[in-house]
Symmetry: C2
Subunit: 274 residues, 2 copies
């Protein structure tokens, strides 16, 4: 499908993409680039990339570039590579927020498609790679009126070959939805785990462990995600704060009927989640 | 270990206890009693109980009674059986809050020990039974100065034989800890899932599913748990609300340093959880 693919950022998503692309034979050569040489070496050792690029000059004869660094670096790197790349080269990113990235990359890179594979985890780094993390996952593509339709189609097929179910939404809707379905749960998990007195942690069951799993997520990644989706995340937090306040009020008033209604409504919503 | 055990409430915990006791041969006969005859029938069919009791008169020649109904019913049933039971009969409950239950049962039942096996799930009813849900789980016992030490020791061994790690704390500390480690996560999960607009639910990944799993928990059970631990849960919710407000403020102020500190602290706390 591609002759020479460059993966910039060989962490969990970038490295796993390399592995999965190798497995499905989607690129003849994969070159990795990472500011953490150790990470790139590990990715190479695990077979996720064929070789390690020394600098961003490697992008010049690539036909696919995958930007898999934290959100802020994706924007920085794009301006450093835009004049180096071949005009037919396709560039995709896998950042967790899309509006800011797409707004910056869309006008400067002819064949750009914003992507967000919902396949991450709280773990980070090349040591946690997996070649099938995209199988049966959802990958959101965020085309705009500037998107080349042939490129969009090729990238859609690319993710489908990796086993992902592709969904197309606007960058704005992506960020509004993910503020609720991903960024809010992370904010809540960080706040929850920090609320629990140390000496109570041993008296906990699977419920807390499940809720708290994502509170182990990386601070550098998540500060950038939160800040790059600030307004929409604030809206989501406000909505949640109203719900928890309503539950608290019902509890203060011993309002059995209202509490039952709140929980039954949550049960129904949970069912819709599948 | 016991000749005739009665399980009152043959739902997930009661029924699974029956199965596990059978497997480990801890009682010669197990009689089940449930206000939902269907549940008792299913428990019998699955081998969790030997026979179904028609009324609470069955308790008179038992040497172990397990109260496994929702919290409020445990208190109600205890006053209905207290004059019927043999004076050597041991009574335990498996309710999710302990202060209210222990305060009521301790003075009226000579051989009572409050128990809370942390082995439930968001599922309910006899169809979800498992004979090994107690293996490697934590079981909290809440003895008081009124607790018979011989009885306490026997019940400790009982849970250990089922594979549980037994922890002893006061009913007050149990409820304070569980307010943070179980009841707060449930309150948050109910509020979170209800905050998410319907049309965004399909754009979610494993993170949300994990956080939201317990939002499928039963309303009858959980309203009773919340109300029976009202003050301590309110304290826990207040603590959490302060944490989420602090995170929101840091975000509003684009305070990268503070946000990083909040997430790094959460990461550390998450590690302690194991």
């Amino acid at each position: 499908m591609f002759k020479k693919a460059i993966i910039i950022g060989t962490g969990l998503i970038g490295g796993s993409l390399g592995l999965a692309m190798k497995k499905k034979k989607l690129a003849r050569t994969i070159v990795g680039f990472s500011r953490h040489l150790e990470n790139a070496r590990l990715a190479k050792k695990m077979g996720a990339i064929d070789c390690i690029g020394k600098n961003l000059g490697i992008v010049k004869d690539a036909d696919l570039i995958i930007l898999a660094t934290p959100v802020k670096s994706i924007i920085e790197i794009s301006s450093r590579i835009k004049d180096k790349i071949n005009k037919n080269c396709i560039v995709i990113d896998v950042g967790s927020t899309k509006q800011a990235i797409v707004a910056r990359l869309d006008p400067i890179i002819p064949n750009f498609v914003g992507c967000h594979p919902l396949a991450g985890s709280e773990k980070r780094g090349a040591s946690n790679l997996g070649n099938d993390i995209f199988k049966d996952s959802i990958c959101i593509l965020t085309p705009t009126p500037l998107t080349n339709l042939k490129t969009l189609n090729k990238i859609r097929v690319f993710w489908q070959k990796l086993g992902a179910k592709v969904v197309l939404v606007t960058p704005e809707k992506h960020d509004r939805a993910l503020a609720f379905t991903s960024h809010l749960p992370h904010a809540i998990a960080f706040a929850l785990i920090s609320s629990i007195p140390d000496n109570f942690l041993s008296l906990s069951s699977k419920g807390l462990k499940d809720v708290a799993r994502i509170s182990g997520s990386d601070s550098e990644l998540w500060v950038q995600i939160f800040l790059s989706n600030k307004q929409k995340l604030l809206t989501a937090i406000n909505t949640f704060q109203k719900k928890i306040s309503a539950l608290k009020l019902a509890l203060e008033n011993n309002n059995t009927k209202l509490l039952t209604g709140i929980i039954k409504k949550a049960n129904k919503q949970r069912e819709k989640l599948g």
